[in-house]
């Protein structure tokens, strides 16, 4: 009788421990899923923000410049005596301001966006800006404001 009672107690103890373990594992899984979901939403936000903000930034820069000159990895925007050089290098978009007419070098700028790639193409009447952020690609068209 005593042996039977001991066995029942052991089974009950092991059962409750297993139940606790199952409970703990399920809770951890739920927390990990929630963390993954947060991470995905946050990544989406960061990607969307970077893509749209960089496109808007470049569009507004083009729209507010007197003269736009495209170069291999960027563009030179002239406004009076000031020239803004915006270029893509080393996984980021850089910008620097120099005096108009000086030697334009695509180096030494301030990093303004983390991007995978930027392409600015020119047609007869338009500029096409394509921005890559991670796997997302966004394109926008801006008309030429001046001749």
């Amino acid at each position: 009788m005593r042996s039977y009672k001991n066995t029942a107690d052991t089974i009950s103890t092991v059962g409750s421990m297993l139940l606790f373990l199952l409970f703990a594992v399920c809770t951890m899984m739920i927390i990990v899923t929630a963390a993954g979901s947060y991470s995905r939403i946050n990544d989406n936000y960061t990607t969307d923000f970077t893509a749209s903000a960089s496109i808007r930034y470049l569009s507004n820069k083009i729209k507010s410049s007197e003269k736009v000159e495209l170069s291999e990895n960027g563009m030179i925007l002239q406004n009076g005596v000031i020239a803004n050089i915006i270029y893509f290098s080393d996984g980021g978009l850089y910008e620097k301001t120099v005096a108009a007419g000086s030697e334009y070098e695509l180096s030494g700028g301030n990093r303004i966006f983390e991007l995978s790639g930027v392409e600015i193409k020119e047609t007869e009447e338009l500029y096409k800006i394509t921005v890559n952020v991670g796997e997302k690609t966004s394109s926008a068209i801006v008309r030429k404001g001046t001749e």
């Binding site: 107690d9 009950s12 409750s16 139940l19 409970f23 809770t27 739920i30 929630a34 979901s37 939403i41 989406n44 936000y45 969307d48 893509a51 749209s52 496109i55 569009s59 007869e124 009447e125 338009l126 096409k128 966004s138 394109s139 926008a140 068209i141 801006v142 008309r143 030429k144 404001g145 001046t146 001749e147």
Partner: protein, 133 residues
């Protein structure tokens, strides 16, 4: 004596049931918050695409004043919007002796819900395009 030996196990089960109940209720609330955040995030992504698309449409339209031609250029250069998004246009043209002033209003709807609308314009000289370029 028999009842007292069973008490800890019973307490464990009672605690577990109460915790599960509490966890389920809290989980339901938290899940709805997550679902709301996810829905908002997707809606934000769609709206962002629509805004960038709208900008491109406005820029091209201002050059030619022709909606069909504009959409052809924009979709070929920037890609199409999600099929769920329906674009409704309202185009008004007023001509004078020198040229045509066109006003285009676009309304973007998704599942019957208006997500964005904006108006842009074009001025095209008669017998040719705007002289700007």
């Amino acid at each position: 004596m028999k009842r007292s030996t069973k008490r800890p196990l019973n307490l464990f089960f009672i605690e577990m049931i109460i915790s599960l109940l509490f966890f389920s209720i809290s989980g339901a609330v938290i899940l709805s918050v997550f679902a709301g955040a996810d829905k908002k995030s997707r809606a934000g992504e769609t709206l962002e695409n629509v805004i960038v698309f709208s900008q491109s449409v406005a820029e091209v339209y201002s050059l030619n004043g022709d909606y069909d031609e504009t959409m052809k250029i924009v979709t070929s250069e920037c890609g199409k919007l999600d099929d769920k998004i329906i674009i409704t246009k309202d185009e008004e043209k007023s001509e004078n002796a020198a040229g045509t002033f066109s006003k285009l209003t676009l309304i973007f709807t998704e599942n019957g819900r208006r997500i964005y609308d904006f108006t842009c314009a074009a001025y095209v000289k008669n017998g040719g395009s705007d002289e700007r370029t």
